[in-house]
């Protein structure tokens, strides 16, 4: 998004929030419509079923409607909203350790693909000139979705927030209440898994 477009989107959102504070139903529905799908997807990272994810989203809107006067506008509305959602989703869906478990040292690439000196023995195949549209159309979309669903909750949440919803790393840290270092480690694991899925799809 260009800065100008981001600015005008932010201005439009601020206006909707102001109208919501004043009790405007249409503004609420418009705000909810903007964020509902992203919220459902994010909630799904933490809870066992789509039905529970819907409940969590609904609870979040209740909390937002009751607490909109406490929104101070220091963070963006979206960051504030998603942080509420994640808190609710976590307390509903799971109890996860706050930090990456020690000993969890999954590697980005299967170690058997390197020789004893650490150089590639089975390098990734060179990028084929197939268009990305075509790759997605012939099944990559489903493969990426499936890989995303199998990631551990926080890894999945981070990919959703960073790479699909377009939040920056500071915003993700705020929404998920994690450190910048932790965010980077989890993002690395998640993207590495997705890349592997992409490679397997292309090589198949």
């Amino acid at each position: 998004m260009t800065p100008r477009r981001a600015d005008s989107a932010a201005a439009a959102e601020a206006e909707l929030v102001a109208r919501l504070r004043a009790g405007d139903e249409a503004a609420f529905v418009e705000l909810a419509a903007r964020h509902q799908a992203a919220m459902l997807r994010l909630a799904s990272a933490f809870v066992p079923s789509p039905a529970v994810a819907e409940e969590v989203v609904q609870d979040t809107w209740v909390a937002v409607l009751r607490g909109i006067d406490r929104f101070e506008g220091r963070a963006s509305f979206k960051t504030w909203l998603l942080a509420i959602l994640v808190n609710r989703a976590k307390s509903t869906g799971m109890s996860e350790a706050r930090n990456v478990p020690i000993g969890d040292v999954g590697s980005a690439v299967d170690p058997s693909r390197f020789d004893a000196g650490g150089a590639w023995s089975s390098p990734p195949r060179h990028w084929v000139e197939e268009s990305e549209d075509r790759l997605m159309a012939r099944g990559l979309r489903g493969r990426l979705e499936a890989t995303l669903r199998r990631l551990p909750p926080r890894q999945r949440a981070i990919v959703i927030l960073r790479d699909i919803d377009g939040l920056d790393s500071d915003e993700v840290c705020r929404v998920l209440d994690i450190s910048a270092g932790n965010q980077r480690v989890l993002l690395h694991r998640a993207r590495s898994r997705l890349r592997q899925a992409l490679e397997e799809f292309i090589d198949a």
């Binding site: 609420f28 997807r41 170690p111 390098p123 990734p124 990028w127 990559l140 990919v159 699909i164 993207r191």
Partner: protein, 86 residues
Amino acid sequence: MRLLRRDPLACREVVELVTDYLEGSMSRGERRRFEAHLADCPHCTGYLAQMRATIRLTGRLEPADLTAEMRDDLGELFRRLRDEER
């Protein structure tokens, strides 16, 4: 991941540093060392290109649009809460 040694990076290390590189969280020295490896290694250059493509393609998994039914539900939720407060 911090690099303590000055030896050239091995490919096995490069793949673990890709995110630090893309996030801009490397020191200048780390970055130089990383880019020096890429300059000599078409495989890791290809790997980085795949990682960038992965990020782009994942970004296309946009969530579905809201249905009219969901919009109605939201409006109803709003009115219910407003009425409760009276």
